[in-house]
């Protein structure tokens, strides 16, 4: 590995200012589980590493009024996977966090790192996209930089391993909106006993592996068990994590075999996989359908009162 100077500033302002000095030869460091390998294999010359872990206020999980969530960018996978409130409300996110690497990796790896690394196989990205999450980023007051801003998660990624952030910008938090009330499709049932569910499904070669395909679903069922909202996201089958378009057309239908078949076909169509040494494009496409069906089926099971 190359030699570099290491900085651990105490404020966001210092971190961003340091980065602004030599943006092409500097990198932010969170848990380091991606950065370490990048420095060894493909990062290009890097001589400055700026650690974000000493900056106060970037870590933590809190529920916001109305049932949304705000999660600090430096929050580790281990904290996500163990958080009781999160497990009840967003099992898809906890399930995704719980399969990132093994326990030592999950004790280091952060949510912000997973998103900023911009791998299309990033496991937590898929449920967050299904939730319609947003990210807060800050340029730390560096002259010429953006002020703090909020952008939709999908606007964070430019392509594989590439984000739309300015070099000095730090991702500070992920904001997950409250689940939709499900009023859109069917006004009359909006206020009746709606139920929310979400789930994450993933396919790998062995117990410890990067996803060949992952899928997340977030849905609302109305009082009669019909879909009042549905979003499905897929990972590792495109240049970025992607949403399955057109799921609104399924609203009003019950979650049954026929619906799952349709979801499977829509996911296969949405997927834009490549062939690599892990799997062929053809197999990935087929599995995108299977994983989407699983995620939707599992998301609906607790919403319907079944156990998945």
């Amino acid at each position: 590995m190359q030699n570099f100077s290491y900085h651990a500033p105490a404020t966001l302002g210092e971190a961003c200012a340091l980065m602004a000095e030599a943006p092409d030869r500097s990198r932010f460091l969170a848990g380091g589980s991606d950065l370490h390998l990048a420095l060894e294999h493909h990062a290009g010359p890097v001589d400055t590493v700026i650690d974000l872990k000493r900056i106060a206020g970037l870590e933590g999980i809190e529920e916001t009024p109305g049932g949304g969530w705000r999660i600090g960018a430096l929050t580790r996978m281990a904290a996500l996977e163990r958080h009781q409130g999160l497990r009840a409300a967003l099992p898809a996110l906890c399930a995704a966090a719980a399969v990132v690497g093994g326990p030592p990796i999950r004790n280091r790896a952060t949510l912000g790192g997973n998103l900023c690394n911009a791998s299309p196989a990033a496991d937590t990205a898929t449920p967050l996209l299904a939730f319609g999450a947003q990210v807060e980023v800050s340029g730390g007051g560096v002259p010429g930089s953006n002020a703090s801003r909020t952008l939709a998660l999908e606007a964070l990624w430019a392509g594989p391993r590439s984000t739309t952030l300015r070099p000095e910008e730090v991702l500070t938090a992920v904001v997950i909106p409250p689940p939709p009330t499900g009023g859109g499709a069917n006004e009359s049932t909006a206020n009746e006993s709606t139920a929310h569910g979400n789930a994450f499904a993933r396919l790998t070669r062995s117990a410890m592996d990067i996803a060949l395909v992952n899928a997340a679903a977030s849905l609302t069922l109305d009082g009669s068990g019909r879909l009042a909202s549905l979003t499905v996201a897929l990972g590792a089958v495109g240049a970025t994590v992607l949403s399955v378009p057109g799921t609104d057309a399924l609203l009003g239908r019950p979650v049954d075999e026929a619906l799952l078949e349709d979801i499977g076909k829509m996911a296969e169509t949405a997927a834009q996989p490549i062939t690599d040494v892990r799997a062929s494009a053809e197999y990935r496409r087929e599995m995108a359908g299977v994983m989407a069906m699983r995620a939707v089926g599992w998301a609906a099971a607790p919403a319907k009162g079944d156990t998945p």
Binding site: R205, S206, A207, M208, R278, V290
Partner: protein, 756 residues
């Protein structure tokens, strides 16, 4: 004496365990010397090329560089017949072009980039068919068919027998190339003292191979070469005797300083010796009752750039087809073919797992076709203790060959049936196995069985030396390497048992040519049998001599020996401790034994019967192993805990190989595409259930304390046990390994799952 054993049969703690657990054990790559240099290798970017010119002047002048080695600097000695220390002809992407020794690994790596090579690319050839076609580029003089011929082994007359068969079953079976991935990568440290050479290296054969190769390659007398293997971090029969040692030694000689060469993980995958791809065409003819009447297997192994011990690998593909079922007519034909793949070599079980995959899956298809339960089929038709039908052709008294193909030669011991019965009972075959698996719907479950037959008592020339000195130190010196399988502990137990001394009286001295008598290669599961024989015989002699001395000292005609104390027979109270006796020795007691064990009229084989229970996800093609029972016949078990570890490790290793491990090569450039742990996907321990291990009870009469070989036999049936369980679950036969989800889905799509 063997009726009541004190130490053989006990799960004593393996000798080097504490050091390994504490991280104190020193592996070759941990060794350092003052002034030591680090070596790096320049590797070929072409699958097939000739070096036209090579300019090392800039590299030689680079900071910290002390030696650069090319094919101009080495002798013309061929290491394994077809392998020069460095060669102007390059035969795979990753082949060794040149080597650099420098003061740091980084300086050596930087210097590699300064070597200018002019290559003349030659047409490559990657698959066996193309390599054997007329006009194919020849990789070695004499052509691409190794030895210029196919190996043929035959009993009876298969050609005549097939037309008489009631039914004939056929199948083609493929297994893929994969990396054996010992945790320790290959490494060698060479140092010269004047004209004497010492090499530490990862090794399985320092007397029988490394020392001779170094002596020949460097042109120095054998006595001037010392080879040591401190500790092995994963052997599996795979740490070869190729270029590693000579390259380090030539560099050290040129630089005038010690040189250590250590492979990176990527080099280990590309330039270590891999298990090569094999294909077998199998044909089984059966009588009306299902009895096999003719078995014919034709196999090809893609040997890669150099064959090394690959001939034996190919030979073992035929093992099961020739021996596992009683069958009067059997024929095996095997070809090893040179291609521009990375070089292959030996690995645990040689070709036997691939051959058994073909045989045991097709036998399940036979059983299904004949309407017989696969367990019943095997119980009826497996080879019995009497050996194959027919008459012995080797004259009596004359040693039968290592692997007699002829009939009429009985097994010395035979626990196959016991394994089948005990394994079936453990997994609950009769109660739980349903002809069509045990579930319908998206996840299906099934049970499968497969047997294995393998060499269990390879008689290699073996030597052992025992020294007992006046301080009571008992040294057992054996020249073989403990490659991690625990042979030092096993040989110590054998010595202690025969000497009738406590185990902690024994000091094992191994794997150093300066302090041990010549030893055989650690291969073919032969150490317990061959070196064990030598150790036991030496220990028997030493014990008798010590007892005679003790009796004389005590003035009685005989003494008993227990717990390190000689007690006079028939004279109350008279006793002498072992250390008292030793202190009075006029000179050390030394016994040296050389022998070649084995039999002139019996076959010594180890047997297996494995049972797998799997679950198959019909929508993803994923196979999960739910339960695995491995019943092994290895004669008497010297150390049950170590033996269970061997079997468990063997099964887990091959479950990974059966399910996912595969080295992929770009079919046009010859570049290995996944030489890393991230992409050559190995098994994680959480992927598998614990392996349930059972042992047959019968000791082997011709083996030391009755112990047969166990290192390789438990890998042999694994592919087939899994494939047969998948077939039971889904109705789909797998003929191509590894059984990746994609291949499983393809098989389901092609063959159609026979149940909803």
């Amino acid at each position: 004496m063997t009726d009541s054993l004190d130490i053989v049969g006990q799960s004593v703690t393996r000798l080097e365990l504490e050091d390994k657990v504490l991280g104190v054990t020193r592996y070759t790559a941990d060794l350092k010397r003052p002034g030591m240099l680090y070596a790096k290798i320049l590797r070929s970017p072409h699958p097939h090329a000739r070096i036209v010119a090579i300019d090392t002047s800039a590299a030689e002048k680079a900071p910290g560089v002390h030696a650069v080695l090319t094919h101009h600097d080495v002798s013309s000695f061929a290491i394994e017949g077809d392998l020069l220390v460095l060669d102007a002809r390059l035969r795979f992407v990753g082949d060794e072009v040149a080597a650099v020794a420098a003061e740091s690994p980084a300086a050596a790596a930087d210097a590699l980039e300064l070597i200018r090579v002019e290559y003349e690319p030659l047409p490559p050839v990657f698959d066996c068919g193309a390599a054997l076609a007329p006009g194919a580029p020849e990789l070695h003089p004499g052509g691409n068919l190794v030895d210029g011929r196919r190996l043929v082994v035959e009993r009876g007359d298969t050609e005549g027998a097939f037309p008489t068969a009631f039914r004939v079953f056929e199948g083609v079976f493929h297994t893929a190339a994969h990396g054996p991935v010992g945790m320790e990568t290959r490494s060698a440290l060479a140092e010269w003292d004047d004209d004497r050479l010492t090499v530490h290296k990862t090794s399985r054969s320092l007397h029988a191979h490394d020392r001779k190769i170094l002596s020949n390659a460097l042109g120095i007398p054998l006595e001037h070469v010392r080879v040591i293997c401190t500790s092995m971090g994963g052997g599996f029969g795979n740490k070869d005797e190729g270029r590693l040692g000579p390259l380090a030694a030539f560099l050290a000689r040129k630089a005038g300083r010690p040189v250590r060469l250590e492979y990176s993980r990527m080099e280990e995958f590309i330039a270590g010796r891999n298990r090569q791809a094999m294909v077998s065409r199998l044909k089984i003819g059966v009588a009306e009752d299902g009895a096999p009447v003719a078995i014919e297997m034709r196999s090809e192994m893609n040997a890669g750039a150099h064959v090394a011990s690959g001939r034996n690998v190919t030979r073992r593909i035929g093992q099961g087809a020739l021996y596992l079922y009683a069958c009067p007519n059997a024929r095996f034909e095997g070809a090893s073919v040179y291609t521009n793949h990375p070089a292959g070599g030996s690995f645990r079980g040689l070709g036997a797992p691939a051959g058994h995959f073909a045989l045991e899956v097709l036998m399940d298809q036979v059983a299904a076709g004949m309407g017989l339960d696969p367990l019943e089929y095997r119980l009826r038709f497996h080879v019995g203790p009497e050996g194959q039908p027919g008459r012995r052709t080797t004259p009596p008294g004359e040693a039968i060959p290592d692997e007699p193909v002829e009939g009429g030669v009985p097994f010395s011991s035979h626990g196959l049936r016991e394994c089948l019965l005990s394994g079936a009972e453990r997994i609950g075959w009769r109660e739980r196995r349903q002809p069509n698996g045990s579930a319908t719907g998206p996840s299906r479950r099934g049970l499968g069985v497969a047997m294995g037959i393998y060499k269990g008592g390879v008689g290699r020339e073996a030597q052992a030396e025992i020294h007992v000195d006046r301080r009571g130190r008992v040294e057992v010196r054996v020249g073989v390497v403990d490659v991690g399988q625990g042979s030092s502990t096993i040989l110590a137990q054998i010595a202690a048992e025969a000497l009738q001394l406590p185990l902690d009286f024994i000091t094992m001295v191994m794997a150093d040519t300066a302090h041990t008598p010549p030893g055989h290669i650690t291969a073919g599961s032969s150490t317990t049998f061959s070196s064990g024989h030598a150790v036991k015989q030496a220990a028997d002699t030493v014990r008798n001599r010590l007892r005679e001395r003790a009796a004389a000292t005590l003035g009685v005609s005989d003494v008993s020996l227990s717990g390190g104390v000689f007690t006079a027979q028939g004279r109350e109270g008279a006793a002498l401790t072992f250390h008292q006796l030793c202190a009075a020795l006029p000179e050390p007691v030394i016994e040296q034994v050389t022998l070649t064990p084995g039999s002139t009229d019996r076959v010594i084989n180890s047997f297996s019967a494995h049972f797998a229970e799997v679950e198959v996800e019909m929508d993803t093609g994923r196979i999960r192993i739910l339960r695995y029972v491995a019943a092994q016949d290895a004669g008497r078990i010297v150390n049950p805990r170590l033996a269970e570890g061997q079997v468990t490790g063997a099964v887990l290793q091959f479950l990974g190989i059966a399910l996912r491990e595969e080295l992929l090569m770009d079919p046009t450039s010859g570049v290995t595409l996944n030489p890393s742990f991230l992409e050559h996907k190995n098994t994680a321990i959480v992927d598998f259930p614990p392996v349930e291990v059972l042992f047959a009870s019968q000791p082997e009469p011709l083996a030391p304390f009755g112990a047969k070989g166990l290192g390789e036999p438990p890998v042999v049936p694994v592919y087939a046990a899994v494939a047969n369980a998948v077939a039971n679950a889904t109705g789909v036969w797998l003929h191509e390994a590894p059984f990746t989800p994609k291949r499983v889905l393809q098989a389901i799509a092609q063959q159609g799952a026979d149940r909803p």
